[in-house]
Assembly symmetry: C2
């Protein structure tokens, strides 16, 4: 069996190497590629995607997987065979013509969406979205599913997750969030955010970002930080992780929390198990778990009072004119203001998940046929008003704001909320295991937390599925309770509310 | 036939797209890749090289080429079938084991060379070079050759060139150069270079580089300029050309002439025919022709009196303290000082080719067995003394200075001198076709020259072979006369010599 498994791993390394090239090409496209390079880049990326698909579904690899499924396997071999079988069976069920049609429709649909958003005219996008939804349903039918058809789409981003399992958790969360948002609004308190709305020279913001990256333990010998219009974390391997951020000269939180968020992703990548590199066992588990790492650092650490106990004095040195007069409590309140708003990516920690839940529900409704694409704008506006008490004045600020659906990313949104829930559940456990965690954060000493995350989550690679991992690390299944408790504890105190 | 040709072109595009990824990975490795990324990058590049080789020699493409060779073809189809047949037959003749052994030997040999050069101890590299030469001879035997065995190696860098044709041209050049160098030395004139040896703030050097790039017509919407330890021009397509340079704070010429040199390569790439993109007909012809474009701009334009008539006043604005006192004649003489030296990459325009001719002769002698690897250091030193009148005090400054042989690049060196000869021959023709060329350069108006190069050379892609192209453009076969005339005219005047 060892020869068969070695041949199998050699093919996994080839897949991983193609991924390496794809990762670099994506990163470069958003950072350094000159404008006129775009069409050829698109073509080359299409070719590499085709090569990847061809190698993943090559008869030789199919045969190796079939042989290995019949064999006695242990350790990483079990994981690698399970994961490649999972990816391969999905790919084998999708005819090349469907993949190409989907890719072309997404590309044209994305162009249509850009124009529709610019003109705030949903009609320009409607036919494309209808086609995308129809194609996605065909994908689901072909790859197959148990339970909701939506599961076939969700599985691409959060493997093995099921709508039936997450929907009740999300429903509980929604009820609590709507109530919390209402209670916060009822206090009439609006922390003064003016302190953040000043001129913050970019040079100093860069110094701050470098400092925080170093403090978090992000290894710049095995990674970089560059500029991009839409910040992201990409890269080619655990030894080469690329973060990006963007700076706004009159708004401090954007680059700072953006950098912390992406560095959270980056620490996960850098912490993946070196001995399984180039195979699924050595890769991250799911987008939800990935997002838990970025949100844990961004919000639970970066927007905590302990964090600012350490960093506010440092900020005051970097920005004496802007910040010398502000106290810790006022600054902490400013970076944690809760206020219902229209745009998801700018939402605060409390309202954010209501934006996601809205999208998750609508995706399920679209796939199950309960809502037609044509009805989307109206249903969107109605539900947003129900959840947040505000109504978009136009579609650009409503249903057209996100790029995801135009790119065929149906089933992706729930990973954001899963990330927040996982983050709270992990962070709760970290507090159990590290009783001094708050004090350490208040000293800018992130080493123990990073080590804990490295050991408990990063170094596990994809050896456990997301839900297994959560249960392994926290001793409990996924639950909204941890996140709700976290929000109540933090925002209850900030807004003088008790449950 | 059209269906067969379309299928053939589709496969050429795939090869070009794999090249696109490889080009980006190489560029990134020298510019932005974090240090720890190197091992995985090496692996991924190996995988992509393997994929390229596999697709180039795939039975389907072999069959397409065979069909097309029997067909009536016209235009670019002739070129594309000829070039792919040429590359494919070579690759098909090299067993995978030989390719892998060569690659591993080069990799280990390169490591050994680094240590040998550091310790100036040829013995540490000797066994590796012996192995590399033996493997290269095996490659030559397998791919086959007419005339000298060396032709099989030369062909990889300068397709269709033959040692029998270039050796007499090089011999004529050598005789003339040795004599010219002696006569220059006999004048006892050494232009004052102190003016170049001052502090030149890097910020200002960057501004200068940007200005010259823009003046040359390098399109920054379709290219970039970045930093690298060893400057080069790379990229992924004619619409995405990456130049690199390096700055030295106390030596102006390095970055300036380096940038002009690479931009010369870059203009060639940006000028390739858009209608043949992704196929050999739309690619550059040979390394020699590529080098002719960089050397033409670097030396014949950048080190000309006309060029400095325009740029010296601009330089004096950028560097008033350093340059306000220097006159045009003195500055022009300073950037054109001739002095025999040990290191090829630092050599002036007159002595440079003697460094190359030495290497070309030694490569031929090694392959034909006239010189043994063990004898190389001594033979090197003797011949350098014959040609330039100086003798390396150690091997680090002699036979170990270049990386090429350690990387298996045997047959590459002659392309540098071919580049200089082609450049002079093209530049001579440009003067015939553009009678105002000198005056235009003296006004910093490079448009006419760039357009001429675009039309005569760049837009031809690889439709003609290098030697056909030279004859097409200049009406004459490759000859050393143009370059010798150019040197006499320029350096005769500078050193008060007449032929």
């Amino acid at each position: 069996m060892s020869n068969t498994y070695d041949a199998f791993v050699e093919r996994l390394h080839e897949l991983s190497d193609i991924n390496h090239a794809q990762g670099l090409m994506s990163w470069d496209q958003e950072t350094y590629m000159p404008p006129r390079g775009a069409p050829m880049r698109a073509r080359a990326m299409g070719t590499l995607a085709g090569l990847y698909h061809e190698r993943l579904t090559a008869p030789e690899l199919v045969a190796l997987v079939a042989d290995l499924k019949d064999a006695e396997l242990t350790g990483d071999a079990v994981v690698n065979v399970r994961e490649i079988d999972h990816q391969q069976s999905r790919s084998l069920k999708l005819p090349k013509e469907l993949v190409i049609e989907l890719s072309q429709t997404e590309s044209l649909g994305h162009e249509a969406w850009i124009e529709a958003r610019e003109k705030s005219d949903f009609a320009l996008f409607q036919l494309w979205l209808e086609k995308i939804v129809a194609l996605k349903k065909e994908v689901a039918e072909r790859v197959g599913y148990e339970g909701a058809m939506y599961n076939a789409l969700l599985d691409e981003y959060e493997p093995y997750a099921r709508a039936e399992e997450i929907a009740p958790v999300f429903a509980q969360l929604k009820e609590q969030l709507v109530s919390l948002v209402e209670q916060i609004a009822a206090t009439g308190r609006y922390p003064a955010r003016g302190v953040l709305d000043q001129e913050y020279p970019i040079k100093q913001q860069e110094l701050l970002g470098q400092q925080v990256l170093a403090d978090m333990g992000f290894d710049l010998e095995a990674g970089r930080l560059d500029l991009a219009v839409h910040p992201f974390c990409a890269g080619t391997s655990r030894d080469d992780v690329r973060l990006t951020t963007r700076y706004s000269a009159d708004w401090l939180p954007g680059s700072l929390f953006g950098t912390i968020h992406e560095a959270g992703h980056g620490l996960y990548e850098q912490g993946l198990p070196a001995d399984a590199i180039g195979t699924p066992a050595g890769a991250s588990v799911s987008l939800g778990i990935h997002e838990s790492q970025s949100r844990l650092w961004e919000n639970m650490v970066g927007r905590s009072k302990a964090f600012w106990t350490h960093y506010l004095p440092k900020l005051q040195v970097l920005f004496p004119q802007q910040l010398s007069a502000v106290g810790l409590d006022a600054f902490y309140a400013a970076v944690n203001q809760v206020e219902p708003s229209l745009i998801r990516v700018e939402a605060d920690e409390v309202t954010y998940n209501l934006h996601i839940l809205l999208r998750f529900e609508l995706e399920c409704d679209l796939i199950e046929g309960r809502v037609a694409v044509a009805e989307l704008p109206e249903v969107w506006n109605e539900r947003l008003e129900q959840y947040l008490g505000i109504r978009p004045p136009n579609d650009a600020l409503g249903v057209l704001q996100d790029t995801h659906w135009s790119c065929g990313l149906l089933g992706y949104f729930p990973t954001y909320t899963l990330g927040n829930l996982y983050a709270a559940q992990f962070f709760h456990q970290a507090h159990q295991d590290l009783p001094d965690l708050e004090a350490q954060i208040a000293q800018g000493a992130f080493g123990p937390l990073k080590t804990w995350l490295n050991e408990k989550i990063h170094a596990r690679g994809a050896r456990a599925t997301a839900s297994e991992l959560v249960e392994e690390v926290t001793g409990a299944k996924l639950s909204a309770d941890y996140f709700i408790d976290y929000l109540w504890e933090k925002f209850g105190a900030l807004y003088g509310l008790s449950r």
